[in-house]
């Protein structure tokens, strides 16, 4: 077996050195009734070639997004990732190391995370960011729980423009952790007035920008309203590229930013692993969940980095920790950080402008399809269409024409008839004019 380094002769010699006669002796503590004598009913070992063939056959059954015109987004975006990113994250020293507990031999990961924290703080306009969460949805739930701790209140108001997965994950936590999650009605037109709903029990209001229907709003007034009521404003960003063009949550007065960083450096991966982002104000840092890297000096006075403020964390504080999170999304953070480093200020602002321009072109073209209208008054790179028919069936028919035509809102909010005909479509820098034309043509056919 290619991954095992011991030979039969080694095993014999080692058992002898240990002073036992057989391997079974080392499993003597296992209750007799639980000992498996034979092999489980699973296939035997296979070579690389066989495994590669079997898995490739499975992969080949899926419609690869990059092989067709694709307009699917809704929190997961298909951007172009420079080849250098995947090359660098595969370096064994990054890929096969653990959480940087031993800073003297983990400066690579630590410096990278310090840079990542800074990049995220800059992008979100916040003071500090952590070293990552599992994904945007769990980061959102953690943000709400942090707001609960900070305000000692137990009611969160979740916008109708917040991604339904984020709402559901937060609701699951609410049920078991014990707080109230008030879910506003889905709000394609972004007209809700959440300020009016804030009361003395409200720990936080959670909005998403751009919203899950694509709308872009300035939440500065809501921030003021929250703060006046002693509540916090949490802004979720799940298309991180938008931060290159849209006013930052920090500039709007957000207290916590929870987000999804997949757009930078990470592939679609059928939804995971992705990259939870978490940023806040300096004064709240000791209630933050997750790992934090801080600057310090070594015994020779040289600058270096360590994991810090671990008194927030489970391995030190156990049941009093701010969160139970341990393993997070380090390598996804690395991928994102490399991508952001490659882009730089000039590249990111242009990337954002390009996304916006492509989406604008797409919106103009699709609005010209008979029976189709654009719901949004504003958007960044995705927007909602109103179709004359249920969107799910339309998308299904488009797929048969080898076009991935976006996300029917009914997939995110099933059973709401008012939303049935809504379709969320996305454009990125990957979208070509030919893609747009193919989509418009196919949509015209499907709708006629």
């Amino acid at each position: 077996m290619r991954y095992l380094s011991l030979t039969t002769a080694d095993r014999q010699a080692m058992l002898a050195a240990i002073g036992v006669s057989s391997i079974d002796a080392l499993f003597a503590d296992v209750p007799q009734a639980a000992r498996l004598d034979g092999l489980l009913d699973l296939p035997k070992a296979q070579g690389e070639l066989e495994v590669e063939r079997a898995l490739s056959a499975m992969a080949a059954k899926n419609l690869v997004a990059g092989s067709v015109p694709s307009f699917v987004g809704a929190g997961v975006y298909r951007h172009h990732v420079p080849a250098a990113v995947d090359h660098l994250i595969q370096r064994g020293e990054f890929l096969t190391s653990y959480t940087p507990y031993q800073p003297e031999v983990s400066q690579g990961t630590l410096q990278m995370l310090f840079e990542f924290q800074t990049q995220i703080a800059l992008l979100t306009g916040m003071d500090v960011a952590n070293a990552s969460m599992y994904d945007g949805a769990t980061a959102c739930a953690e943000a709400v729980m942090m707001a609960n701790r900070l305000t000692r209140r137990k009611k969160a108001i979740l916008s109708g423009g917040l991604h339904s997965h984020y709402r559901e994950v937060t609701r699951t936590h609410a049920r078991f952790v014990g707080f109230q999650a008030k879910l506003a009605e889905p709000d394609p037109e972004a007209k809700e007035d959440l300020a009016a709903q804030i009361d003395a029990n409200t720990s936080c209001v959670v909005v998403q920008n751009p919203g899950t229907f694509g709308q872009v709003r300035d939440y500065s007034a809501l921030a003021d309203a929250c703060h006046k009521a002693g509540a916090l404003l949490i802004i979720v960003v799940n298309e991180a590229v938008s931060l290159g063009a849209v006013k930052s949550p920090g500039a709007m007065g957000a207290d916590i930013v929870a987000g999804e960083g997949q757009s930078f450096g990470n592939a679609l991966n059928f939804g995971g692993p992705h990259l939870g982002l978490f940023a806040t104000r300096e004064r709240y840092v000791r209630q933050m969940p997750g790992r934090l890297v801080g600057e310090t000096v070594d015994a020779d006075g040289r600058r270096g980095w360590v994991l810090t403020l671990s008194t927030r964390e489970q391995h030190i504080r156990r049941e009093k920790a701010t969160s139970n999170i341990c393993t997070n999304s380090g390598l996804c953070a690395l991928a994102a950080s490399i991508h952001i480093s490659l882009l730089g200020e000039a590249g990111l602002t242009r990337l954002a402008a390009l996304n916006h321009a492509k989406a604008t072109m797409l919106a103009d073209r699709l609005a010209a399809v008979p029976g189709v209208s654009v719901v949004n008054d504003t958007f960044f790179n995705e927007f909602t269409l109103r179709l004359p028919k249920p969107a799910a069936a339309v998308v299904e028919r488009l797929a048969r024409k080898r076009i991935l035509g976006g996300v029917p809102i009914s997939r995110l909010h099933p059973g709401k008839s008012a939303l049935r005909n809504l379709l969320l479509v996305t454009a990125t820098e990957m979208t070509t004019e030919a893609d747009i034309e193919a989509f418009a043509t196919a949509l015209t056919q499907v709708l006629s």
Binding site: M1, L4, S5, L6, A17, I23, L26, F27, V30, P31, L42, A45, M58, N62, L63, V76, A84, G92, E93, F94, L95, S97, P100, P103, V105, Q107, G108, T109, Q111, Q117, V169, T172, V216, R217, L268, F270, G271, G272, E295, T296, D300, Q314, R318, E319, A321, N324, I325, N328, G330, S341, L342, G344, E345, A346, R350, L354, H356, T378, F379, A399
Partner: protein
């Protein structure tokens, strides 16, 4: 530039501290500034076409002023991260005996498989009809996990072990609620990983610690004494964090069940028994599996992981969505707590879980097969015991007898030497080894927990033993000063963690204008 020497002043150190070069570099060990310190305005490592001119649809909600990101070229970025990587220890570079972390070899085949466009370039929200292969993969993975554990169901979505714990404890609470019970206490051994009590507390339970007995296992009598009608669950790690199999586990399970509670197992140490013992046969009701440990998805310097949770029949109805089920027309994806899944606790994570990790784990399982996985457990246990045998007269084993996949020492052998477990660990760094897990579990003094995994060859273990023996001898010989100064040969010497925590600097800030002028 009139004074060129400024160009290298950042990293120069006092010659006497080993930094005898002008540049601060030491041969191939090269210092590297922060990306923010390498900025040139306007420079970029990505070329994008000029965006077509369009009327903005942002509604005026536009960013004001620069973001502050530095501009670097691709050559600079590649060099930056290459140099950073070279400051890390990794499995690829040496033995990584971090106990409880199962730092085994990460096959490159798995990386290749996870990057197949049919897995990596599919969208979680594209029509389910276009991704039958993805659902098949998830179903296959579930089949392997259920067969290996003997459990009825598996929830794939948790993002890592701790997230799996949350999932498991939530399912237990949901089951209790379904029974109409409100139990408040969760029992957790003192030796447990920090995530266990943190999880129980996060779900609103009171954590009740149970002590270990003299041979490093749960004190069954003490446990039984704590059981009662308000106990929701026991969270037990098996093999436990002392590297020992809980030999009374079935008695424990029976007692827990008799008290109407559930038995949660922390499966972080599943590597010790995979293919030889099915957790279901031990009476376990629910267990998370760290795919990034037993099934070798790379740790990546801190994730991503994946923490599927296997569940007994009694807890299966509560598993979080999404579920992959066998429908009339092939695989189906239930995304909401309705229909068959109406008992589900609901969604715990965006989308459908860590697909990229699923592919890697399944590739690992298929490569090993039923036979290879059993051998994994045997070799992991054999390697740990070989370390124990090679070290037991020089270091002090925490408990008598053999161990499972990891071996625990305490710091008795360092008594009166002036050398602490930490000092000893830092000396290992100079010798080219990553230290073992230290000061955990909390049940022994100055713990040193070593897990070699099945990946290590005998030669590798022999060398490691030789080095640790020599270091132990050196400590006992009274050379404490040497240890206090370690490491001397790593990219950095000991770092001041107190300073970091006392005056947290958690991000880079542009130099202050006045400081700039002074420089």
């Amino acid at each position: 530039m009139s004074d060129w020497s400024q160009a290298v002043s950042q990293f120069r150190t006092d010659p006497k501290s080993g930094g005898a070069t002008v540049s601060g570099n030491r041969g191939l060990q090269i210092e590297e500034a922060l990306i923010f310190e390498q900025d040139a305005p306007g420079r970029t490592g990505v070329d994008l076409p000029e965006p077509p001119a369009v009327k903005s649809r942002l509604g005026g909600v536009t960013r004001e002023g620069p973001i502050g990101l530095p501009g670097l070229s691709e050559p600079q970025v590649v060099r930056h991260y290459t140099r950073l990587s070279q400051k890390n220890y990794a499995i690829d570079t040496g033995l990584y005996p971090l106990g409880s972390c199962t730092m085994k070899h990460n096959p490159r085949l798995n990386e290749r498989m996870a990057r197949l466009a049919g897995f990596a370039d599919i969208h979680p929200l594209q029509p389910v009809s276009t991704v039958p292969g993805a659902l098949e993969l998830m179903d296959q993975l579930a089949h392997w996990l259920k067969t290996l554990t003997g459990m009825a169901a598996v929830a794939l979505s948790p993002g890592a072990g701790a997230h799996g714990e949350l999932c498991g404890i939530m399912c237990i609470r949901a089951a209790l609620e379904a029974r109409g019970e409100k139990r408040t206490r969760v029992l957790v051994p003192e030796s447990a990983h920090g995530t266990n009590p943190a999880t129980a507390a996060a779900c609103g339970f009171t954590v009740d610690a149970i002590p270990a007995n003299a041979d490093g296992r749960v004190d069954v009598a003490a446990l039984k004494a704590k059981l009662g009608p308000d106990v929701a669950a026991l969270m037990l790690t098996n093999p436990n964090t002392c590297g020992l199999f809980e030999r009374d586990i079935r008695e424990i399970a029976d007692a827990v069940h008799a008290a109407g509670a559930f038995f949660y197992c922390d499966g972080a140490n599943f590597n010790a028994i995979v293919g030889r013992v099915r957790p279901a046969d031990l009476g376990i009701d629910v267990m998370h599996i760290n795919l990034h440990k037993t099934f070798s998805t790379p740790h990546g310097g801190g994730g991503p992981g994946s923490g599927p949770v296997v569940l007994a029949e009694s807890l299966a109805p509560f598993a979080p969505t999404p579920w992959v089920v066998h429908g009339a027309k092939g695989f189906e994806l239930i995304e909401r707590a309705q229909g068959d899944a109406r008992g589900s606790i609901g969604r715990l994570k965006g989308n459908h879980g860590q697909m990229g990790m699923f592919v890697r784990a399944l590739s690992f399982m298929m490569s090993h097969g039923a036979d290879g996985l059993r051998q994994v457990a045997e070799d992991a246990v054999l390697n740990a015991n070989y370390l124990l045998a090679g070290l037991k007269d020089e270091l002090t084993p925490a408990f008598p007898g053999t161990c499972m996949h990891e071996v625990l020492f305490d710091d008795h052998f360092l008594k009166d030497t002036g050398v602490s477990t930490l000092d000893f660990a830092k000396a290992m760094i100079d010798e080219g080894y990553h230290p073992m897990t230290m000061y955990f579990p909390l049940v022994v003094h100055g713990a040193l927990l070593m897990e070699p995994t099945e990946s290590e060859s005998r030669d590798s273990l022999d060398a490691f033993i030789a080095v640790l023996r020599a270091l132990a001898k050196r400590a006992k010989a009274g050379d404490a000063e040497y240890f206090h100064g370690c490491p001397r040969l790593a990219p950095r010497r000991r770092l001041d963690e107190t300073l970091a925590a006392r005056k947290p600097v958690l991000r880079w800030h542009p130099p202050q204008p006045d400081r700039q002028a002074a420089e």
